[in-house]
Amino acid sequence: MEISSEDNNLMEKVLPPVEQESDVELETKVKKYLRGEGANLETLKDKKLKTQLASREKLYGKSAKAAAKIEKWLLPAEAGYLETEGLEKTWRVKQTDIANEVDILSSRNQYDIVLPDFGPYKLDFTASGRHMLAGGRKGHLALLDMMNMSLIKEIQVRETVRDVAFLHNEQFFAAAQKKYAYIYGRDGTELHCLKERGPVARLRFLKNHFLLASVNKSGQLHYQDVTHGGMVASIRTGKGRTDVMEVNPYNGVVALGHSGGTVTMWKPTSQAPLVQMQCHPGPVSSVAFHPNGHLMATSGKERKIKIWDLRKFEEVQTIHSFHAKTLSFSQKGLLAAGTGSFVQILGDSSGGSSHNYSRYMNHSMVKGYQIEKLMFRPYEDVIGIGHSMGWSSILIPGSGEPNFDSWVANPFETSKQRREKEVHSLLDKLPPETIMLDPSKIGAMRPSRRKEKPSRGEIEAEKEVAIEAAKSTELKNKTKGRNKPSKRTKKKKEMVENAKRTFPEQEHNTALKKRRIGEDAAAELPASLKRFARKN
């Protein structure tokens, strides 16, 4: 008996080491799919509802586990990495070294396009990373297919172009030109002229809501629904001119960086900002959001980059560096900061909740190139740099998400798939009211009142105690014939009644009292003045 139990114990301990590891990994993966914690069912009193919800919670757990287990087979690709050995530092690795080590297909993604005549270039990528839009300050708009490295269409609008943005797919794009913003089709035809907005400084598109957000030269924020063309909101921020505007992909909130150092967050349904944060002592140069929605990076003229946690609105980290003119987060959480002709990529060395961004890679371009915009390409280990002499693209291993989902964004989309996706995303278009700081509140229960009302039992117990106290008070022994028993009992009854009255009926009584006071006051007035009595 003893021997067999010992054997059993040994069997339990000696699990193959591979399986043990995968248990821990499985736990983290399951956590990712669980999307938060389960509901607290202890507070429910309805037994039927409790059992129904308990079985549902179980199902959630099962599905999260199934998704975690199948990840191993379902995801074909693994993320890129850059690992150095010994005394080598990752930020000393140059692009030429990388080009020597990687395959030909990747090295095709390193290039410089030199177009010195048309001014600093702004970039935008589609959600799948396949198409790129480049807009030069002097009016050059180019739409490119990055997979084949081919130019689809380029037009010269002969006006200053301040910003460019794709709409929901590569068929439409918007350009902020000298006086107004324009929407163009894929073949370069001008489709719409958006006159209401005035001279636009920045353009951004909210994908789930089909809203084109822009901030113009006088600091007004405009939201327009591109499906029916109606202006959903035009908000006067009251903070003056700014051209720092970014959209938080997690919740659709627009953040503006102002010259006073404040960052304000807006939603289309309210005229006042959701949040106002004082981020820097001087003007905010640029803002960037982490794709998970919890981190925001801001940079100011005092040569600091600050990382903020958006759940608590607290500063997580300050990086003393250069004055970063432009910031961008990648899908995997790498932060790119650019100034002059120098790009620095910062990586999060510690995973989990504590963030510690440190140098990961550097890249300096030719001295004359002034960087205008940095943007990571989705689903690729590439960053696009728009500068004064054109645009470039360099390799940053580990920045892109390796596995895409065909139903979310497909770089290998056929035209039929694109059309279907357009229809489905239109059917799922969200109304502008769903933009809020915490999008998981939709469909959630309203939290119960913080001040817990004492339960009936407690109230009754207190009542009884008070009644007992009232009953047991000793009345003063009055003399000279004032101590009649009838009077004594009356007095005692009165005291007990008073003790009873101070309980929940109190609220009712105060309301009644107020009404009575009003009535009494009205009754005191002479008849001729009765019409001036306060009618409450």
Binding site: K32, Y33, R35, A67, E71, L74, L75, P76, A77, E78, A79, G80, Y81, L82, E83, T84, E85, E88, V93, D97, I98, E101, V102, D103, L105, S106, M147, N208, P249, Y250, N251, G252, P291, G293, Y379, E380, D381, P397, E401, P402, N403, F404, D405, S406, W407, V408, N410, P411, F412, T414, Q417, L427, D428, K429, L430, T434, P439, S440, I442, G443
Partner: protein, 452 residues
Amino acid sequence: MKIKTLSRSVDEYTRERSQDLQRVFHNFDPSLRPMEKAVEYQRALTAAKLEKIFARPFVGAMDGHRDGVSCMAKNPNYLKGIFSASMDGDIRLWDISSRRTVCQFPGHQGAVRGLTASTDGNVLVSCGTDCTVRLWNVPRPSLEDSSISSENFIEPSATYVWKNAFWAVDHQFEGDLFATAGAQLDMWNHNRSQPVQSFQWGTDSVISVRFNPGEPNLLATSASDRSITIYDLRLSSAARKIIMMTKTNSIAWNPMEPMNLTAANEDGSCYSFDGRKLDEAKCVHKDHVSAVMDIDFSPTGREFVTGSYDRSVRIFPYNGGHSREIYHTKRMQRVFCVKYSCDATYVISGSDDTNLRLWKAKASEQLGVILPREQKKHEYNEAVKNRYKHLSEVKRIVRHRHLPKPIYKAMGIIRTVNDSKRRKEARRKAHSAPGTVVTAPLRKRKIIKEVE
């Protein structure tokens, strides 16, 4: 130094030949899908609206009887057919798919009160107010029988005359006995012209009878003294009886949980009981405004259909207090009998206006062959709608039903009456010493007593 960058070769991610299917890749990571709850809510709203757009429950009416339809019977071995009998003695077998009469069984002189098919489906038993029980041989449906225009008239194989008019008949699920309800409860055998056994408890007539699907010797009856009685044939006596406040018009056993039965009552509610514990109803289903005339369970055991004197047919969930669905038409008058089809897809109602009406059990269901992708989409829509059906916008759309004016007004009146009753009771309770005024739960309130 180890470097690896993402590089996707086009061959791996696209199809080889144009005959192949497109390659699809999944990544269920929630971080790739921002605002997924809002998107789901939007889809729930769209699903609820689509359900209402596609809700066309009425399939057709079966016309042919010359007087109000009094009862119906299902043949468990033949899904397409249904028997119906009218108040002038006309019994017909209908083919549901073409909605025509297959054959008629003339013979009864007065109203036919009960119809039932035997276990193997070959014999049809009918009983009526002319004090006779007739047995008929049901013709076998053959494949060449497409010419339904030739209506056959079938002679009864046996006619048994007895002393009193009959109110209902039901056949054992696995056996050859059938029970008739009249002045007392009689058990008959196919071959005997007189009842094999008789039961009586009290002097009132028995109105309806129903055999238990799970236990072949157990049956439940309801009598005009407002009682429900459960009989056990092996004991040759009544097992239990409860007396309620109002008369029960019809009883149905749950085919999936044979110990539970549901009684359709004269006061407009249906009471579900556990057959082993009759002193308290398990659930009270309240939505009809007038007497509930007939009740039938779905073969899944998860819902039941009721037909009521207030000209409507309602479908209730087996454990829920309110109806999931209501069907009504201007032309449908008092509904006397309802049946749930054996494949749980259709509901058949027989009413006073001489028509049998065929309705879909799920009003927005797509009938016919559905592709697997369509099926998945339907399931997804159903699931996402159920997840958000408590939120106000979705709830408003899902709950919305058009009610005929008399029913709408009657419900308003009933609500005010109940509210005032409840208020009065609450005030009485508040002004009396605690513990003197006890409100009995609704499940017990309507049961007067239980008798052994």
